[in-house]
């Protein structure tokens, strides 16, 4: 029997999953958009390989695979933003969260894992399947690679959640969270390796990107999937992700504590 706290986490995650499962038509339309963009991005990046054999560890096949996997991951790691916590702080609903017996960040992370699982199944699989069946994306043959990929993906969700918390927690100090979020999304989209693989960056830009937590959200799992990271360096990559996830979550807990101390909720 699992301890009660873990069972609670699992139940919260299940609810997070169900919340998204309530809108199947929206999911289908979203997956369609992901696939259309996958097609276009693959065409553009493929044109690169008419001029060159390979860039870093990426050849044409790896790059196509990269495109379809990133299209699938986009929603799993919520690359396009999330401001639920910020809105709860602004509306004062956070007060309700604070009297619950579970820390809001822990409950938030559990909910997010439920959300991520739903997105993985219904937004993640369709683009990768279409890419593999019709456009030459290559699926790993080694079950160990799949295992490493899913481990890396689970950590990527935690890193992404930790970072999303940071720009949401800004709501304790400023009422304008939208602007902050947009700026965060721009940085995230480029430096995570979502827009274009980090291996394609000029060395100085790649060095900047790799010093941030962003590659741990997208590039790291994708590199494992396409085989650009392999062997023992997979373990190093996973350890790096774990470190970023832990670091961001610790900072978030601390910021949350500081923020709640200065929080004033009007109520009645």
């Amino acid at each position: 029997m699992l301890p009660l706290s873990v069972r609670t986490d699992l139940e919260i995650a299940r609810r997070g999953y169900l919340r998204y499962a309530a809108y199947p038509a929206a999911t289908a339309a979203g997956a369609f958009t992901n696939i259309i963009f996958g097609l276009m991005r693959a065409s553009v990046l493929l044109a690169l390989f008419a001029e060159r054999e390979r860039i870093g560890a990426y050849d044409a096949a790896a790059t196509i695979t990269y495109v379809w996997v990133t299209q699938g991951l986009l929603n799993v790691v919520a690359l396009w933003g999330w401001q639920e916590l910020a809105l709860r702080v602004r509306s004062g609903d956070i007060a309700t969260d604070l009297i619950r017996p579970i820390h809001p960040i822990r409950a938030g992370l559990a909910t997010d894992y439920g959300r991520a699982l739903y997105q993985l199944i219904f937004r993640g699989i369709p683009p990768v399947a279409v890419g593999a069946l019709a456009f030459g994306a290559v699926l790993p043959a080694d079950p160990l690679v799949w295992l490493a990929f899913f481990a890396s993906l689970a950590l990527a969700v935690a890193v992404s959640f930790g970072f999303r918390l940071l720009y949401n927690l800004a709501a304790f100090w400023t009422t304008d969270t939208r602007g902050t979020m947009i700026l965060a999304l721009v940085v995230m989209s480029v430096f995570s390796g979502f827009t274009i693989p980090i291996q394609f960056f000029p060395p100085w830009l790649a060095a900047i990107a790799n010093a941030t937590p962003f590659p741990a959200m997208v590039q790291t799992p994708v590199d494992i999937f396409v085989g650009a990271t392999r062997g023992p360096s997979v373990l190093v990559a996973l350890a790096g992700q774990l470190a970023w996830a832990a670091g961001l979550l610790v900072v978030s807990y601390w910021l949350f504590a500081v923020g709640t101390r200065r929080l004033v909720v009007q109520g009645g």
Partner: protein
């Protein structure tokens, strides 16, 4: 004529009200306009990174692709500025609030388009203008009257094409509740497509772009003319001049589809 003047005056009053509202929160406004400016640069960063690896992409150089990017970016920015709020239209259908528009004494599409005007989206245009300046400074263009006229025309023509695609695809809302995402695939997707030379795409996708969703007429064909560049896929030269006609045709299709949609609307009751 009097009717058109009346609509224009009304449009101006409605938009002026929106502008006053948006300028109430100066800091938010400044942050958001900076944000949209930066977002518009994401795709250009990708283009720069691509050209850090290769000299040419499908026989196009960096300044040439920058010209495509700038034309498409400017046209899309102004479209988004004026009618980007169409994305919220499906909610109007879902709530049944479209009824309100039907009982008012102006055309429904006019009321919808004049409902909002998001100035912060000008940030996108600023980014595209900067890229245009870069492209023009680095290209050797044999300027003559025709080319100058094309450069001036290409943005308004692109706006009409993008706007027509937007109106046409958002009409999905009359039939399905999840129209927004599907429509986005064509609007934002269309913008993405038009940033790159269409010869990077597969033949079937190219045909789709040129003849069904006429994205190729936004930037690709006009840019070939401005650059005096032979078409890498050898399409006929007259295609470079027909963008304005394509825009007019697209607008007709959009308004026809809209009318069919309105006739299909059944309200949510209540």
């Amino acid at each position: 004529m009097a009717e058109a003047r009346d609509l224009l005056a009304l449009y101006r009053r409605l938009i002026a009200a929106r502008l006053r509202a948006q300028l109430q929160y100066r800091t938010s406004f400044a942050l958001e306009i900076t944000g949209t400016l930066l977002i518009s640069f994401i795709d250009f960063v990708a283009i720069l990174v691509i050209f850090a690896n290769v000299q040419q992409l499908a026989q196009w150089t960096l300044p040439e692709v920058a010209l495509l990017y700038a034309i498409s970016g400017l046209a899309f920015a102004f479209t988004d500025l004026a009618i980007g709020h169409l994305d919220e239209f499906p909610r109007l259908i879902r709530d049944g609030n479209f009824d309100l528009l039907l009982v008012r004494p102006r055309a429904t599409l006019f009321q919808l388009l004049s409902a909002d005007f998001q100035v912060r989206r000008l940030g996108k245009a600023v980014g595209a203008l900067a890229v245009l300046a870069y492209a023009l400074a680095n290209l050797r263009i044999d300027w003559d009257i025709g080319r100058v006229a094309m450069l001036l025309l290409v943005v308004p023509v692109g706006v009409v094409i993008f706007a027509s695609i937007w109106v046409t695809t958002i009409c999905i809302a009359f039939w399905s509740v999840e129209a927004r995402e599907a429509s986005n695939a064509f609007t934002y997707g269309g913008q993405f497509l038009s940033q790159f030379p269409i010869n990077v795409y597969d033949q079937w996708l190219r045909r789709f772009l040129a003849y069904i969703f006429p994205i190729a007429f936004v930037a690709y064909f006009p840019a070939l003319y401005i650059l005096g560049k032979p078409d890498p896929i050898g399409l006929p030269e007259w295609l470079r001049f027909v963008s304005p006609l394509v825009a007019v045709a697209a607008a007709f299709v959009a308004s026809a589809v809209w009318r069919v949609g309105v006739r299909h609307y059944q309200s949510a009751g209540g």
